[in-house]
């Protein structure tokens, strides 16, 4: 499946949901923002949100220091 992640086109195999993609990328599920085609996906829906070929994602980690 081809996805655009943070503006970069990437091919990922054996990844079907947002949760699986985050795990694949080694990104924690806590304090991270995931947008799929411009819509924010709440954390509790990572596992039930399926990805499709050519989806565009933005993945931003919350930066908490001050």
């Amino acid at each position: 499946m081809q996805l655009t992640i943070n503006g970069e086109v990437r091919t990922v195999a054996e990844v079907d949901t947002v949760a699986a993609l985050l795990d694949h990328l080694g990104v924690t599920h806590q304090a991270v923002a995931v947008m799929v085609n411009g819509a924010v996906i709440p954390r509790e829906r990572y596992a039930s949100t399926f990805l499709a070929d050519s989806d565009a994602l933005e993945i931003v980690r919350f930066v908490g220091g001050g």
Binding site: V40, V60, V63, G64, G66
Partner: protein, 268 residues
């Protein structure tokens, strides 16, 4: 420009804002608003120091500084209001002294307290704007709920490692929760991850810049847009944050003062 001559200000403040008046969109009445403005800075670390420096310098009338901590030697690399002789002093007192030296006309309130549900109304009420200089998730969640409930704009920011981000929440949708959910358990520690001083300073200055835009009523603030900076890669991104229709914090709109939804029931 001659227009500042009409304003009933201390001479030093009139001179201080002279270069603002030449900016597109800035009018003498916007400068009056700036000098009458009350801004609270919650957290006087790297973000708060950098932001307060410019807010005081540019003519904001009153600053309320809130931080329970004392200056430590390992703060000095990036918390630019503090000098070696301030180590051990309360940050709000050391910052207050530094800002007064910079601008004797500045009105200041100094509170050596941690922001919590029990004191949020007391510490934050009566301000036109709040700056987030916090380094903890739980009070950030609280600040987000308080701001939405009371319709007070907050300029949120964070920095760690080589990364910084800024988001303005202006009383309504979208809010910090729309984007990140609860940040209460976002465990990040610059003692572990490190932080490059100018990166946190830059985030604080972007906060000051957004605060001045809001107070002067000019430009397009970062309301609902997350500004991110990755100094390691040398890359900036600005992401539009869509409001979450089911956001438990902001979807029902601001509630009346006195019914503020405090106490953590919306975390998680």
């Amino acid at each position: 420009m001659a227009a500042t001559a009409d304003l009933d200000w201390p001479l030093a403040d009139k001179e201080r804002v002279r270069r603002l008046l030449a900016l597109p969109g800035v009018r003498p009445h916007s400068l009056e608003r700036l000098l009458a403005a009350r801004v609270a800075v919650v957290g006087m670390g790297g973000l708060g120091c950098a932001a307060a420096l410019y807010l005081a310098g540019q003519g904001v009338g009153h600053l309320t500084l809130i931080d329970p901590d004392r200056v430590a030697a390992h703060n000095l690399g990036r918390q630019v209001l503090y000098a070696p002789e301030d180590v051990g002093r309360l940050k709000v007192e050391a910052a207050g002294s530094a800002l007064r030296r910079l601008r004797p006309e500045l009105s200041l309130s100094l509170w050596p307290h941690a922001l919590g549900p029990e004191n949020a109304d007391f510490l934050l009420a009566g301000h036109d704007l709040v700056l987030d200089g916090l380094d903890q998730g739980v009070p950030r969640d609280l600040l987000n709920r308080w701001a939405v409930a009371h319709g007070v704009p907050v300029v949120f920011a964070g920095a760690i490692g080589y990364e910084a981000q800024v988001l303005v929440v202006a009383g309504g949708q979208p809010c910090l929760f729309c984007l990140f959910g609860s940040v209460a358990d976002a465990a990040q520690d610059c003692a572990v991850e490190g932080v490059l001083g100018p990166v946190v300073g830059m985030a604080g200055m972007v906060q000051a810049q957004e605060a001045l835009k809001l107070l002067l009523g000019v430009g397009r603030p970062l309301i609902g847009r997350l500004w991110t900076w990755d100094a390691y890669a040398g890359r900036t991104r600005i992401l539009a944050v869509p409001p979450r229709p089911d956001c438990p914090v902001c979807a029902s709109g601001p509630v009346a003062v006195g019914q503020a939804r405090m106490g953590g029931q919306h975390r998680g």
